[in-house]
Symmetry: C2
Subunit: 242 residues, 2 copies
């Protein structure tokens, strides 16, 4: 570091934490967006996020902003696995001042009450299908694209996919998570074997079963297991898009 740097010598930097929170609803990947109330970009959609406070880490700030701006349940926000995506630091990202943004991604299950109409900013939060996202404020479209690519890659070699599922889920539900994120189809028998062959990926819930599509054989239920990485990885088919 350079000698004699004076923290007040330059225009100060602000640091924000922004989040790309994904869920799977009805076979389509959705992202959580909020409608901006103030300038700049008033009325535009943006990723949830906000300024990191003086005594916070970026991750702590991300959790706080997520709870404040969206109606997500406290417990979910507290236990959520946040993955740091990358930091965006181009000088003119924000027209007001110099803002460096640390971006995070998270996966949540499809919630019965989408982004519940809580108090404050929460009313402006909404799940939006990825292909219905149009203009976003700032460089959030770039962040969102990076996040989408990252989670697609992460599904290949981590157990994150269970994060999209409710606490107990069927293998069919888990498979549809992969198919939705990757926009492809997978062979059911082979998917099943691969998942079950990976120790600690999922654990059977003894004796439990649930009907899924109304018809058909009731499916066995599974819980997320202790494993976090996938050996061997679950590779997505190469050229195939559905």
């Amino acid at each position: 570091m350079t000698a004699g740097y004076d923290p007040y010598a330059f225009e100060p930097f602000a640091v924000t934490a922004d989040l790309a929170v994904f869920t799977v609803r009805g076979g389509a990947l959705h992202v959580l967006l909020i409608r901006r109330g103030q300038e700049p970009y008033a009325g535009a959609w943006a990723l949830p996020g906000g300024f990191v406070l003086p005594r916070e880490s970026a991750e702590t700030a991300a959790r706080r902003e997520l709870a404040e701006e969206t109606g997500l349940p406290d417990r979910l926000v507290a236990e959520l696995h946040l993955e740091q995506l990358r930091t965006y630091s181009e000088p003119d990202r924000d027209p007001r001042m110099r803002v460096v943004s640390v971006a995070f991604t998270a996966l949540v299950p499809d919630l019965p009450e989408p982004a519940a109409e809580g108090g404050g900013d929460a009313a402006h939060a909404r799940w939006t299908a990825l292909d219905e996202v149009s203009e976003l404020a700032f460089d959030h479209a770039v962040i969102l694209a990076d996040a989408h690519e990252r989670i697609g890659a992460k599904l290949e070699y981590t157990c994150l996919a269970t994060g999209f599922c409710p606490p107990e889920f069927t293998l069919g539900e888990l498979q549809s998570v992969y198919e939705t994120v990757w926009d492809t189809t997978l062979d059911r028998p082979n998917f099943r074997r691969k998942v079950l062959a990976t120790p600690g990926f999922v654990e059977a819930v003894p004796g439990a079963a649930r009907l899924t599509g109304g018809r058909g054989k009731p499916a066995a239920l599974y819980r997320p297991g202790p494993a976090t990485t996938l050996h061997p990885p679950l590779l997505r088919p190469e050229g195939s898009s559905r």
Copy 2:
């Protein structure tokens, strides 16, 4: 973002860019460290890096600091592939003030003149074998550990390994890069086939050959190819550590 935020209302944040630059020398992985001249941690070793200036992106700052603090050739620094590792934002990382650090990693070939004795800070830069690194300033030991893990993983599915090699290299040299970073041994015939079977990973230099260990058959030379990712990946052996 919260309403009515005043950029000057809080103690300002500073943003730094720090680098973990690796090379392979004599069968051991080395990292570029600089000796700190000022407090805090005066006299301690640290990763090269420094403050991001008001009109710079973090990556631009990383390149500038690398050129300033080390004797690395300008051309190398300009063309170097910088990979953003992650951002470290815990409130008390730096005892002086609130500093958020964007960390980068880079791989460079073994240089004839290690960290050349240029002017200014460059004299304090040195390559250090990873297992001889003791205490580092700030949380740089954590950053270094994260960076080491990251490059190990990156070698599996990207073509970055050629970044450790001179412009023209033998397959034996490339293999020793993998063996050094992973601290393992690989089967030469199989390594060879895998590398050559991946389109665009390396290109043969027609007719060229070079002696390596003094004895033995001269090895054919290769250049880095246009590919950036490895399909299929080059997986490191599981439990094996040499």
